[in-house]
């Protein structure tokens, strides 16, 4: 059973949702944030897909209100997900099965002004 190394990127406001200590750890105070995390590969009938990743992020990385990121099994509308340079809607969306060294980016459009 292998572990998956996933690179996560947060930009355009999404980085502000991440816990402060994680941002400082990454050496970033403001601006785009890049992290790598390792997730275990699950068995075939319960694969590690983006949905699992979202739950992981919600539980471990988001500060204050987790529902501002992920609510009722859905990603907050207005946050775009890019998997290896493609819109996740072109891939399988939340069902996309993660592969080793995938790059998942989160771009927020939820800001006023």
């Amino acid at each position: 059973m292998e572990d998956l190394n996933i690179t996560l990127k947060f930009s355009s406001g999404a980085e502000l949702m991440i816990k402060d200590e994680i941002r400082f750890e990454a050496g970033v105070k403001t601006g785009d944030l890049e992290l790598t995390r390792t997730l275990p590969v699950k068995t075939n009938d319960n694969p590690t897909n983006v949905k699992v990743l979202l739950e992981y992020i919600c539980a471990n990385l988001i500060k204050d209100k987790p529902e501002s990121f992920y609510q009722e099994e859905k990603l907050r509308p207005g946050i775009l997900v890019i998997i290896n340079g493609s819109d996740w809607e072109v891939e399988d969306g939340p069902e996309y099965k993660l592969q080793n060294n995938d790059v998942i980016e989160f771009i927020s459009t939820l800001h006023g002004g």
Binding site: K74, I82, G112
Partner: protein, 313 residues
């Protein structure tokens, strides 16, 4: 615009016009970005600030009135600031970046508040504004998501800090609702715009008539335009003037000669701005050497039949 202008040879002179509302931590970021854009796209940039035009920055306004209704001040001032800036530059046309999400949110907001005059105007893709500078929104049908994805793939430099005062904005409610609708049925945004465009005001409804503000000359549906009303309220210490109905009574209760509280500046009257702009426009036409009488040409027919100038080639 820049790309299209060059690719299709529109022959436009493009400028960047930016408004500095004086919001620390928000507008400073975006102004830095605009300055970079100026170099990236090689376009001249003019920045006008509320401080310079009205004597009040948004931060000082919020200090005076509190954290509610801030968008009212900012929006009213920005609209006038853009028109003032356009006249200073002698522009023919202002293009704003409003996208489909913005227009749909505005339609929803106007329905929620029952603002009929605005509802009738907000779906126009181009408006005559004050009659001098036309204003349009070419992204009216482009989803915000499409624009963000385009910027992502083209690696365009843009800012995305949230306005410090936006969490209290009414638009936030419309936005949340719209985003939830989009998640269920993505065509909802365009559908709302379509519905908004299809709405017609019954002809026996009395609509406000465009007139001129008696103080600054700006276009207004009342004797005194909203900007002047808000500024008067700020200066005279009745900050809810123009926002709450009761405020008018408070103003009347003040002694006739009230001491100015704020550091207001003498606002330039619009008649003067129009005069200057007209003069610049006449000079521009007189000096241009590429006028012809081809009906399809963008330049103005001026009885110039010389074949040596640019658009004849």
């Amino acid at each position: 615009m820049k790309t299209l202008n060059e690719r299709y040879d529109y022959g436009l002179d493009l400028f960047l016009l930016s408004i500095d509302e004086g919001i620390a931590g928000y507008r400073d970021d975006s102004l830095e970005t605009v300055k970079r854009n100026k170099d990236q796209y090689s376009l001249p940039l003019l920045i006008v600030s509320y401080e310079q035009l009205y004597g009040w920055s948004m931060d000082s306004i919020v200090e005076t009135v509190g954290r509610k209704n801030n968008c009212t001040f900012c929006g009213v001032f920005r609209r006038q600031a853009l028109d003032r800036g356009a006249l200073m530059l002698d522009l023919d046309h202002i293009v704003t970046g409003h996208n489909a999400d913005d227009v749909a949110e505005t339609i929803l907001m106007n329905i929620f508040r029952g603002d009929l005059p605005r509802l009738g105007r907000c779906t126009d893709i181009a408006t005559a504004g004050d009659g001098y500078t036309v204003r349009s929104k070419p992204f009216k049908y482009a989803y915000e998501k499409e624009i963000v994805m385009y910027a992502y793939f083209k690696r365009l430099d843009y800012f995305s800090t949230e306005c410090t005062y936006s969490p209290n904005a009414y638009r936030g409610y419309a936005r949340e609702f719209l985003k939830d609708l989009e998640a269920v049925r993505p065509s909802a945004i365009l559908d709302i715009i379509h519905s908004g465009e299809a709405m017609r005001v019954a002809h026996d409804v009395q609509m406000p008539v465009a007139a001129q503000c008696e103080r600054c000359g700006y276009i207004s549906s009342n004797a005194v335009c909203k900007a002047c009303t808000l500024l008067e309220g700020l200066e005279r210490g009745v900050p809810k003037l123009g926002i709450a109905r009761s405020a008018k009574a408070d103003l009347q209760a003040l002694p006739v000669v009230a001491k100015n509280r704020g550091a207001s500046v003498q606002r330039v009257h619009f008649d003067k701005l129009w005069e200057n702009a007209k003069r610049m426009r006449e000079e521009r036409i007189a000096n241009a050497d590429s006028w012809c009488n081809k009906p399809s040409c963008v330049c103005v027919d001026q009885n110039n039949t010389e074949s040596s100038h640019a658009c004849m080639q």
